[in-house]
Amino acid sequence: MKDGYTTPDGRVIGDVVMEMKNITLKFGGVTAIKDISFDIREGEIRAIIGPNGAGKSSMLNVINGFYHPQEGEVWFRGEKRGPMKPHQIARLGIARTFQNIALFSGMSTLDNIMTGRFTKMTSGLLAQAIWKGKAEREEVENREVVEKIIDFLEIQSIRKTPVGRLPYGLQKRVELGRALAAEPKLLLLDEPMAGMNVEEKEDMSRFILDVNDEFGTTIALIEHDMGVVMDISDRVVVMDYGAKIGDGTPDEVRKDQAVIDAYLGVSHD
């Protein structure tokens, strides 16, 4: 597995994009993550699963820079990442969605996804103020990219609707669109199917697979129920009480005794 591998459905997985080395994260006396290491490979759909409170969201927050681990190293695209702020990490090409949808609720679907292009728009404030030259060109070009994403996610009919008025499932889809707009090298999805009905879950799974397939986007996602996730992910990290208790393909993980115990609620001793 040194230089990647081929999935059962024939996709070629490449080199390591992101590597977490011995990450430990504490909040005061509480240890949210205990000495966890794992990697994410190019083109892979990597899931992090575990029961409630296992530390999955904390791990995602470490990856995107909301939290800074006390110990351990984060390596991204072959380089050790220094202490960076979340907005700087976004510029490296890491985009994310949130467990409790964090959209800009007063803005339209279109404007929300346009903010996803923020890092691609580099014209100066004055140029933007007079809407000339580079600023004008950038607006037009980026708008085209955004329209493509809107088509891809099949949300043309709600382009101008303020997202606060959309039903939950569509909001999740707009949030995915905003993250996609950044053309991320690594896409983090925090419980993309939480709170959805079966049909919405199927839609979302299809979009995740399509994103991975069409754009080759590397995806790390969190879920706490095993169901759908096992079907769409290539490799799975299992967390429980802040520690890693399993790592491997869905089949390997399913058979792992520690994982079964964690999910069946066998007492910790």
């Binding site: 907005h87 949130f98 964090a102 103020a129 600023a135």
Partner: protein
């Protein structure tokens, strides 16, 4: 139609003009509150400071001259130049942007993530600091502000409308300065709206106003956005300072116009730019008409309290204001 009817219209128009001036101050509050959740108590003092700086630059006053003279035993007061109005407005704008940068770096950044009440206290401190700093820099004497805006009654309108209301009516009396203020404020609001709708930075401003974490996750640098917001609020304060300063002279009482912005905000909502405008107009018109119609019956001087009572009534029935975001607290 009798003269009384036309006088009422005149009062209404003057109320609109006054309302625009209130709206200008309220706008500065809304910009900062929306993007950072900070109620900037210093907004009024910012208008005073901006007006002082404008006059200082325009008339070539030496900043900190008292301090310099006391320390070095010199006797300098003036550079001896006089800069055109428009250029001094540009230079003052730069000073206000620089000021915004300093405030973010020295006050707001170290306090980021604190409770709103702590940030509010910080802006109170900021207000008193700026008040003293402005006086130290430019002197505390009352200054005349004149950037070339026309003042006095507009005779064209007065003559054109003189024939409307019969022999007892002499035409609408509108102050030129008020008309200009209304035009400039309208342009400012239109420009701000277009900027926030159709530019990357404008969208970032709205994004930050909605959700800090999500804004960070798409690569928006909060600190940079705050400098932009405070810079724009500083510019709005400058415009308000010019209007009110041309009218009343640049003096301490200028900073108290912020108090008039409070009822405007309660009416319009703390988070809505259109709300600040409409709220300002309602208060302006309301207090003038009330004084005109009811004032004489109850001893006058109703303009001192009318706005606050109106705001209080609004607070009871619609605490989020006319246009403000509805306050929904999940239990």
């Amino acid at each position: 139609m009798g003269a009384q009817f036309y006088y009422t219209i005149e009062v209404f128009l003057n109320g609109l003009m006054a309302g625009v001036m209130y709206a200008l101050v309220a706008l500065g509050f809304v910009l900062i509150f929306k993007s950072s959740g900070i109620f900037n108590y210093a907004q009024g003092v910012m208008a005073l400071f901006a007006a002082q700086t404008l006059v200082g630059i325009q008339t070539g006053l030496v900043p900190f001259s008292h301090l310099i003279n006391a320390a070095l035993g010199t006797d300098v007061h003036h550079f001896g130049w006089h800069i055109p109005g428009i250029l001094s407005i540009l230079l003052t704008t730069l000073v206000m942007i620089g000021f915004a940068w300093v405030v973010i770096k020295l006050v707001l950044k170290p306090l980021a993530g604190q409770e709103p009440i702590i940030l509010f206290m910080a802006t109170i401190g900021l207000a008193y600091f700026m008040e003293g700093f402005g006086d130290l820099m430019w002197g505390s004497d009352i200054k005349k502000l004149d950037v070339g805006l026309p003042q006095g009654g507009n005779f064209a309108i007065e003559e054109a409308t003189a024939s409307l209301g019969g022999p007892d009516f002499y035409g609408f009396y509108l102050d030129n300065l008020d008309i200009w203020a209304a035009v400039i404020a309208t342009l400012l609001v239109v420009a701000l709206t277009l900027f926030s709708q159709y530019t990357a930075t404008g969208r970032a401003l709205r994004a930050v106003a909605d959700d800090h974490q999500a804004a960070l996750s798409v690569g928006i640098n909060l600190e940079k956005i705050w400098v932009v917001v405070w810079g724009v609020a500083g510019f709005v304060a400058l415009v308000a300072g010019i209007m009110w300063g041309s009218k009343l002279g640049v003096q301490f009482s200028l900073s108290l116009i912020a108090l008039k912005a409070l009822p405007v905000l309660m009416l319009g909502g703390f988070t809505s730019i259109p709300g600040a405008i409409v709220g300002g107009l309602i208060i302006g018109v309301g207090e003038k008409l009330f004084e005109f119609a009811i004032g004489p019956m109850i001893g006058g001087a109703t303009e001192n309290w009318f706005a606050y009572v109106l705001a209080l009534i609004f607070l009871v029935f619609r605490p989020q204001g006319l246009f403000g975001d509805k306050i929904i607290e999940r239990v």
